[in-house]
Symmetry: C2
Subunit: 195 residues, 2 copies
DNA sequence: GACCGTAGCACTAACGGTTAGCTTTTAAAA
DNA sequence: TTTTAAAAGCTAACCGTTAGTGCTACGGTC
């Protein structure tokens, strides 16, 4: 029960991947709204219930690897070198993430997302989850020692930076501009010391 | 056609109000998820299609007067006294909004919202709409003259302040804390002058 | 006051995402 | 091998939402 040793896991992962690939392909070919769940399931040769045992909702099919995103952000906090400053670390991670999702190859997917209200909504609440996770990581860092509110706030601001930059005319420049503001906000929360 | 003169409008408004009141009552009595649209319509004595001609979705029944919220925020920008500073004006407006929705009388409604994922999602995307509206108001103010990105960013931050403070242990204090950060971020965007 | 145009509402029937209940397959453990 | 439980399947339904179609009554016009 504690040592899951192989084949079953591989098959499950394969099924999951096949569903995700099929879904994305159909969505890009004919539009997200024009493709039904029953159709995706049929094309991936699985039952509808199987599809929903792998993905919580139709929208989740599109944001298949959103956990990567979440982990990269928290990694930027928890995995940074000793005494490496928080904001610059987050800035370069967000820079990378924005570059990644404004790349030409990702364009059709994001166009699809922007065009579907359901997908936009889903992404928005995903971002809030990510902000909460990031806030927890920031609040847990003993080097930083900020209040819970300050941690949550900065986390939100960082996620906002990602979201705003992605939609800006010049994403890279927008990241820099917004992080200038975040840097200032962060400095304003520096706890007063007695040293 | 241009002079809507009375009875029809009153009847329509009455129907709308009756639906909203009935829905809210049922939702609070038995829980948002436990009450179906068909049931709300029956209790309000209208057809389901009528209900949907007044409200775009089930969630919209709960956020009936969200336009007030939006207008109060933009008013805080466009309607402030000459030379009155932007951030303090927004701060007191957000302070008022937070006080309003953390009042005891509003508690059951917000508890209901917090407990329903659908309602949370809906509120989240509502907030993004509000942020965009606010951003437009800020960008349009000639006294401020900030970039489009800076305007959007500050607008997001302000909406974040509202949302974070509402959930904080001490909402009023949280507003002050977050607005301290926003103030700093805003200062960082001050356009360089040649005076 | 009679006459249209149309806004508001009703009804039925359906569509699409999602879930519950129950059975079958199949990998892993004994 | 036998047992067990996870993974997958099928059916049938629930619920929010919408299309299609008509009826009714109000508002403006002659």
């Amino acid at each position: 029960m504690t040592a899951p040793s192989g084949r079953r896991e591989r098959k499950k992962a394969a099924t999951r991947q096949k569903i995700a690939d099929t879904a994305l392909r159909l969505f890009l070919e004919r539009g997200y709204d024009a493709v039904g769940i029953r159709e995706v399931a049929a094309e991936a040769d699985v039952a509808v219930t199987t599809l929903f045992s792998h993905f919580a909702s139709k929208e989740a099919l599109v944001f298949e690897q959103d956990e990567d995103f979440e982990q990269r952000l928290t990694q930027a906090v928890t995995g940074r070198a000793p005494h490496e400053l928080l904001i610059p670390a987050l800035r370069s991670e967000v820079q990378a993430l924005v570059r990644h999702c404004t790349a030409d190859s990702a364009a059709p997917i994001w166009r699809m997302i922007d065009e579907s209200p359901a997908l936009r909504k889903y992404e928005e609440s995903m971002r809030l989850r990510h902000a909460e996770t990031l806030a927890t990581a920031i609040a847990a860092d003993p080097e930083l020692s900020r209040t819970a509110t300050a941690s949550r706030t900065i986390a939100r601001f960082v996620i906002d930076a990602y979201s705003l930059a992605r939609e800006a005319a010049e994403p890279q420049a927008a990241v820099d501009e917004i992080f200038g503001m975040i840097e200032a906000a962060w400095e304003a929360t520096r706890p007063s010391r007695r040293t």
